[in-house]
Symmetry: C3
Subunit: 255 residues, 3 copies
């Protein structure tokens, strides 16, 4: 199985699929080609939240704002999973999550080889062939091929952690989903449902709910989302608009 | 074969795919993840129009504005097809259409089981595992598993029928497609092509055409669309804008 | 393998998939269903750039603004590839590109048969069944079936060629991608990197770069894109907006 993730929209992902299918008959599964464009941080978040649900697979990831520069192409092995993409940090949070879940270590390799055909589309010219080759060689032994050179200095990326306080937490916005739900880095267990039906988000009193449908259509609400974090939402509306929040903005929760 | 339909956009459908692929190696086919958001009525229309073209399959459907409430999760068997989704009516029109086409009855089951991991993403935590299990158990015998409990009171949903008149019909807008074509509930055979080249839609005279290309670019037209219903369109333009119509609006056709 | 390309958005492509899967268990690969709407020229460009990366396959293409008129439905064989779609020119550039690459000839056939169920959705009613049948019959012998009648007068379509000059080239915009990159018909080897760091595009001095990251975020730049042509872009921005260019507009390059 080989999954594909990118910020390419359409139709560039199809060129990657063609290149891959020339080299392997792996099952291809599109994760998303609408990841927020050129946004390594959001891509890293979504991959961490989604890829661990898959059975063992090679995961091709191309969100690559510095394509064509000296940034390396890398492949990482985490147990029975492999990740292939640019060395810009985008693969690190999902690699760590997979490692935690499977008690595996992360082994990282630089992908070497001939000069790519283009300086602007390494998804097609570098990453797709490499991912296909990792699949064909096998996740457990692709590094037997000399194109994959072990490295110990991949570019790191971590999400900021919320600061827990006695009366809540100081966090920030990690991501905003297609529905407009604002996903914070505040752990869901901070929310104390016993004490109150409303809490303060950035000094504004907001109702707490287990489900969107508990409140009226259009009402803003605080909930614990499917990622286990505190989320700010509006029933059948957009939380990002109602709360006027963007990725990286501060979120103060008080209860 | 297992088809997937939702209003999730991206990348949530990928989490469902991962969960499914952990449980079955069924062929997955995306129907759409861009169904009109939180809109049970439109989803019910599109599923009724599209799913019957498929060979026997398990069809996973998640358009679920009341996720996390007491609304049930259900699976329905209609001949060799199975439908899995929320008990909010979204599955009923396609179930009836499949039953008509294959002379089968509709058997409905509540899906029971452990508490889901989230209260906001039952697509991933309830429906995807259930659909995978229906596929693995087999459409003809999944109800041998005690998690699937027969029920006879699924939430119903039907589309309004147009009222036929001697000089036309009084109907309404059922759906609007991505092209902006306005799909009404007026049966196509109401259109009397022999009598006139133009008819009145909401008191406005409009040309009748068999194909978009019969009229000039930008001209509004009335035609019989691919669903067999009267549609209002604009050649290489948007019918919904030209006719100022939304889903549910009245459409009076006079000829 | 059977690839699908259209300008249908969602959910009409799923009806085509259902029809195909009733007739064949071919691997289906979505190329794009977001090709620029009703735009034969852009579709022809993207298909020419993407389909040749695929291994031998049947390629279903539906960008069909004159659906329902007398325009023919055609299938073309180019070596081990087959193309199925409307006879409006959209298949010709990719057919020629495949022929060049594989040293094959292009054989074209009109698709004949019963009256389609609709006059507006030949993707579902004509092209999908024909593509499935070409796949089932085999690319090397589908024309043994009498529904495929050889023709020698397919509708032609070619892209305009840039006019090379001593100090640059006069070309035009062929396509604009999802990132907003403006793809011209000026061959990349016209760009003389040795002479200058900046050239004139429509009398405006613009920096030349091998990669987007060479310049500052928001800076316009000229580069050789992944299609081998001169492209006008903005790092992490939209070239079409910065250069105020649309498809078909003139581009004068002077250096």
């Amino acid at each position: 199985m080989l999954t594909l993730s990118s910020d390419f929209g359409s139709p560039y992902p199809a060129a990657m699929k063609g290149v891959i299918l020339q080299r392997t008959d792996a099952r291809l599964v599109d994760v998303s080609h609408d990841l927020p464009r050129q946004d390594v941080r959001s891509a890293a978040f979504w991959l961490r939240e989604v890829l661990p649900y898959f059975p063992p697979a090679v995961h091709l990831v191309v969100v690559d704002p510095t394509v064509g520069t000296e940034r390396r192409a890398i492949a990482a092995r985490v147990g029975e999973h492999a990740l292939v993409g640019p060395d810009n940090g985008v693969l690190r949070p999902v690699a760590r999550r997979l490692a935690e879940r499977t008690d595996a270590t992360i082994e990282t390799f630089a992908i070497e080889g001939e000069e790519p055909a283009s300086s602007t589309f390494h998804g097609r010219d570098v990453f797709a062939p490499a991912a296909a080759d990792v699949h064909q060689l096998g996740v457990d032994q692709f590094d037997g091929d000399e194109r994959f050179r072990p490295i110990d200095d991949p570019v790191e990326f971590s999400f900021p952690e919320a600061e827990l306080r006695e009366d809540g937490a100081d966090g920030e916005v990690l991501a905003i989903d297609d529905f407009g739900n604002v996903i914070t880095n505040i752990p869901g267990d901070v929310l104390d449902r016993s004490s109150a039906d409303a809490i303060a988000i950035n000094d504004r009193a907001i109702g707490v709910a287990d489900t969107y449908a508990e409140l009226g259509v259009g009402d803003p609400l605080v909930t614990v989302g499917s990622h286990g974090n505190v989320e700010l939402a509006v029933r059948e509306g957009r939380g990002d608009v109602a709360f006027d929040l963007e990725i990286g903005d501060d979120v103060e929760l008080r209860q």
